[in-house]
Structures are given as C-alpha cells and as structure tokens.
C-alpha cells in the first residue's frame, strides 16, 4: 500500500513542481516548438494534462483514503448506501462542462491548422520507400533526401554519430517569416511526414495530395529534425527529415545555388572522369542510396534484395545494369533512380558496383553513357 501511494504521490508532486518546459529538456515532454501553431498545440496538451492530473488527484485521493481508512483490519464496518441519483447527475454534468470547455480552444486551433490559404512557398513532399523527395513548386528545384547514418553505425561496428538516425544528405530548406505550404503525397505505400518542432504531421498517401503549413517566425532559424510516422516497410525507422529554416534572403540564395547546381551537374556530365574519380564518388553514392537494401558489402538480403557482389548483372550485363538503375524494376522494390541521382552519380555508382567487392570487371561507366542510355 505504502509503495503504491508513495509512487503516485511522488509522481504527482514531481509533475506539479517541475516546470513542464524543463521536462521537455529532459526528454519528458512535447517540445513547445517554434511556431504559433506548435505552441498552441503545446498549450492544449498541457491544459488537458493538468485537467487529467487534477481529476486523478481527486479520484485517487478518495480511493486511497478508503484503502487506508475503510479496512476490515482497522475494524471498519461497511455501510449500506449504494446509489444516489444526485451524485450520478453531478459526476456526469461536471465532466461534460469540463469537456465542452476543452473543446472550444481545441476547435479554434484545429481551424487554424486547416487554413492553408495564402502561402508564400509551396513544397511538394513525396514519400518513397525509404526516403523523402522535395519539389519546390514554381522554383525548378527538386531533390531526394536520404539517411546518411551508415550501416556501420547501425550495426555497431563504429561509434554512433551525434545525430544518429536523424541526419540526411540534403535538408529541406525553408524561409522564416513566410508561410510555407506542404503538399504531401507518396510514391508507393502510406508514409507520414512529421517535424515535431513545427507540429506538422500528415499522412503521405499514394494517389492523394494532403496539405499542411507552417509559418516559422523570423529569429527561429535553425535545424529541426523529424521522422516518418507511418509504418511503411522494412526501413520505416530509417527515413528521417531535416528541416533547415533560414532567413528569406538566405533562402533565395539557396534556391539560386540549387538551380546553378543542376546546371553545373549537367555540364559536369559532359566532362571526362577518371576511373578512380568515379570509384570514389560511386562508393559515396552507394553508401547513401543503395546500401540500405543491397548491403554495405553488396551482399543483399536473402531473396528480398538481390546481392550485387558476384551477381550476373554486375559481372556480365552492363546494359541491363544501366537500365535497372535508370528505370527500376516494376513489381519490385527497385525504383527508378534517374530522377533521384544525377548522371554523374549514376555513372559513378554503376562503375563502383561493377568493380567493388571482388567484382573487378575493370569496366567504367561514364556520365555520357548514361545520357545516351536515357535517350
């Protein structure tokens, strides 16, 4: 008895005394977040939480009082009363009033969350197995975003980095001081895009476009990390989101860099590369785009994901190899990578796959070959 009461009392006291915001720092509470909406949600959360705590204190208080006082071992004698219409009405009416009081601010926050009109920036977010794709509407900027935590870290061969499982190759960059609308869909199964600090979570459903929005105030520039929040297959836990909020000016500069980068990539593809340059780039591309399924040593995964080390295609079928990377294999989990990777990256990774792990074909696939294959 004592243990149970002590447990309950101490958690109640802890809850009452510690500042909820401090609890967030200890990883105990929801973050307040950086937007007006996220803070409204946090306040709703704390309001319903305290209502529950106080109801609990009263109800459990009466209960524990009985447990201590109304025991046979203390000589208590049972009374006979076992109904009271008045009490029933009272404890039906009071919770009803409390709930109606709760419903009012909840309704107003929900209405606010649903108002996606008048956005300044529109970003289409597409969930894939197992990465996110971002397209900035009207800006000619688009890219894929993959987890960069290595297999070695996941399988405990090396030390885990600070942002273990929360780091990607390309962040989704948004400007502060502007309303950003997210148009969310999926390429395959249902995913969900979630960034807690801006309180945006929406299911990514194939065939549908869902929408959400965020207005990050100026002064809240920074990096905010999110996760996929709907089971989407084997690597559901390995497709995070990194949102980078920058000032409006920095955002414009970034957009320009992206556009220039695309042109530069295309120009680069016309150039010449050495075998070693392709191998180095290829190893890096492989690690972030392929190893998740095909394994760090090209070993594959049983019958689910084919091995590349020693495979027929990697050793003897260059045309087939190029085709499958560019176009994917319909009916399987192997996607088309022609939109996700540049011509240089594709050439490099195929070169790498044909020469790594003892494959040693000595063959080199150049970006020009990839451009030709696309025609």
């Amino acid at each position: 008895m004592f243990f149970r009461t002590w447990q309950l009392l101490s958690s109640v006291v802890l809850g009452l005394v510690s500042a909820p915001a401090a609890m967030a720092d200890w990883g105990l509470n929801m973050p307040q977040g950086i937007t007006e909406v996220s803070q409204s949600i946090y306040e709703l959360h704390m309001l319903i939480f305290w209502i529950c705590v106080w109801i609990g204190v009263v109800v459990f208080g009466v209960m524990f009082y009985s447990i201590f006082k109304h025991r046979k071992s203390k000589g208590a004698v049972a009374s006979k009363f076992h109904e009271s219409l008045g009490l029933e009405l009272l404890w039906t009416a009071v919770p009803t009033v409390i709930l109606i009081a709760m419903a009012v601010p909840a309704t107003s926050v929900l209405i606010q969350m649903y108002d996606t009109t008048n956005s300044d920036v529109d970003i289409k977010v597409t969930g894939h197995q197992w990465k996110w794709q971002y397209d900035y509407l009207g800006e000619d900027v688009g890219f894929f975003s993959n987890l960069t935590t290595t297999d070695d870290e996941i399988y405990n061969r090396t030390e885990k980095g600070e942002n273990y499982l929360e780091e990607v190759d390309y962040n989704v960059v948004v400007p502060t001081g502007q309303k950003v609308r997210f148009l969310i869909t999926s390429n395959d199964v249902i995913h969900a895009w979630w960034v807690p600090e801006i309180a945006v979570k929406k299911d990514a459903i194939p065939g549908y476009i869902n929408e959400s929005w965020a207005f990050i105030p100026e002064g809240q520039e920074g990096i905010y990390r999110g996760k996929c929040a709907e089971l989407c297959g084997v690597n559901h836990g390995f497709m995070p989101i990194v949102l980078e909020a920058v000032t409006g000016d920095e955002y414009q500069v970034w957009l320009e860099e992206q556009r220039a980068g695309k042109i530069a990539e295309a120009a680069l593809a016309q150039g010449d590369f050495t075998f070693d340059e392709l191998m180095v780039e290829g190893a890096e591309v492989y690690a972030r785009s392929c190893a998740g399924c095909h394994g760090t040593e090209g070993q594959g995964l049983g019958s689910v994901f084919p091995a590349l080390a020693g495979s027929e295609m990697a050793l003897n079928d260059m045309a087939g190899h190029i085709d499958i990377v560019l176009n994917g294999k319909p009916g399987s989990a192997m996607q088309s990578f022609s939109a996700q990777l540049s011509d240089v990256e594709i050439a490099a990774v195929i070169t790498f796959e044909r020469n790594a792990w003892g494959n040693d074909t000595g063959e080199m696939v150049t970006p020009k070959m990839i451009i030709d294959a696309k025609k």
């Binding site: 108002d115 996606t116 009109t117 008048n118 956005s119 529109d122 289409k124 597409t126 894939h128 197995q129 397209d135 509407l137 009207g138 148009l183 869909t185 390429n187 395959d188 194939p206 065939g207 549908y208 476009i209 869902n210 929408e211 176009n327 994917g328 319909p330 009916g331 996607q335 088309s336």
Partner: protein, 185 residues
C-alpha cells in the same frame, strides 16, 4: 424481452433458435454492410465533395465570370512506383477567374518497349475546393493507353465554380499516374 420466466417450456423449445437465427442474419447483414461501405463512401465523397475528390465530366455551360478575383491554379504530377512514363504538366500554373473555362495540357510518354495502360488519379488541395472544380474533359476520366515509345499531349478543360469560397486564392490540382495494366478495360 419479458424476463420473469425466460426458460423455455415444452411448447417453446424453438425459442433459442429464433434468437440465434436473428443474430446470424444480423452478422451476415453486417458483412454486407462492410461491402456496402465501399459505394457508400464514394457517394458520400461525391455528394459532399470532401476528401479532395473531383467529380466526373460536366456539361460545359457559360457561366458568370467573377472578374473581381483571380485564382492561382497549380498543376503537379506524380508517378506512382513502377510507372516509368514521362508525365508532366505543360503549364506549372495558370491565373484564372472563377467561372471562366480554361484548357491546360499535360504531356505523357511511354519510354518502354511495351504498350502500357495508365490511370491518372486526381486530387485537389485545399480539399474544400474540390467540389468547385468542374471538368468537361480530363485525361483522368479514362485509362490512357500509350504504345511503346508513344507520347502525346492530354488536355484538361475545367473551370472553378464562382461559388468557390472567397478565402481560397490558390488551388493545387495534383495527378498521380498509376500503371493500370492489371485493371485494363
């Protein structure tokens, strides 16, 4: 349910079976209800326009054009997994007045060595705008067949009902292209 003498006597020996039979019928009816939810769901979405689903073709009628406001309409396309066609909106966005009829075009090309059948599935954002989107012609109404290597332009002719709520200033029309070979008609 009279309750004073619920045990069956000799004459009412069939009583438990009646209840049992009714419950079996109820169970079967609920199974049917589960299937009935399929068309019910579609009808509900169509009538209310909620969920971002647009309706089928409408008759083109000349209607009042609300020149006092301009709506930005964006077009986005998505290829579902395993759908390798080129598929894009030839216009990224248009500005139009509610009530005016507008035509935009999409481009689709089948780069494979096989004939394929595609189905475009529309979705509108904000979803409340969906019931105000009127289409007389849309490649999304039918399956589209493209032979190996074939490409063509596909038109969309639509207007926004002038009753579109005034707070809506931007409408995004999204089309997801699926490989409908398994469902070819």
């Amino acid at each position: 349910m009279n309750s004073n003498s619920p045990l069956p006597d000799e004459n009412s020996g069939h009583k438990p079976n009646n209840t049992a039979l009714k419950l079996v019928i109820a169970a079967v009816a609920m199974f049917g209800f589960g299937f009935a939810l399929v068309p019910l769901y579609d009808i509900f979405c169509e009538i209310t326009g909620i969920n971002g689903k647009t309706g089928g073709p409408v008759e083109r009628v000349e209607q009042w054009v609300d020149t006092s406001r301009t709506i930005t309409v964006q077009f986005i396309t998505t290829n579902n997994a395993g759908m390798p066609w080129e598929f894009e909106a030839l216009q990224e966005e248009v500005e139009m007045h509610p009530g005016a009829w507008t035509q935009v075009e999409f481009w689709a090309l089948n780069p494979t060595a096989n004939d394929m059948v595609g189905q475009a599935v529309p979705s509108v954002s904000p979803s409340e705008a969906a019931e105000y989107v009127q289409k007389t012609e849309c490649f999304c109404f039918d399956q589209q067949t493209l032979k190996a290597g074939e490409g063509r332009k596909m038109p969309l002719i639509f207007s926004l009902d002038p009753k579109l709520p005034s707070h809506v200033k931007k409408v995004t029309m999204s089309y997801t292209l699926f490989d409908a070979g398994a469902f070819a008609k």
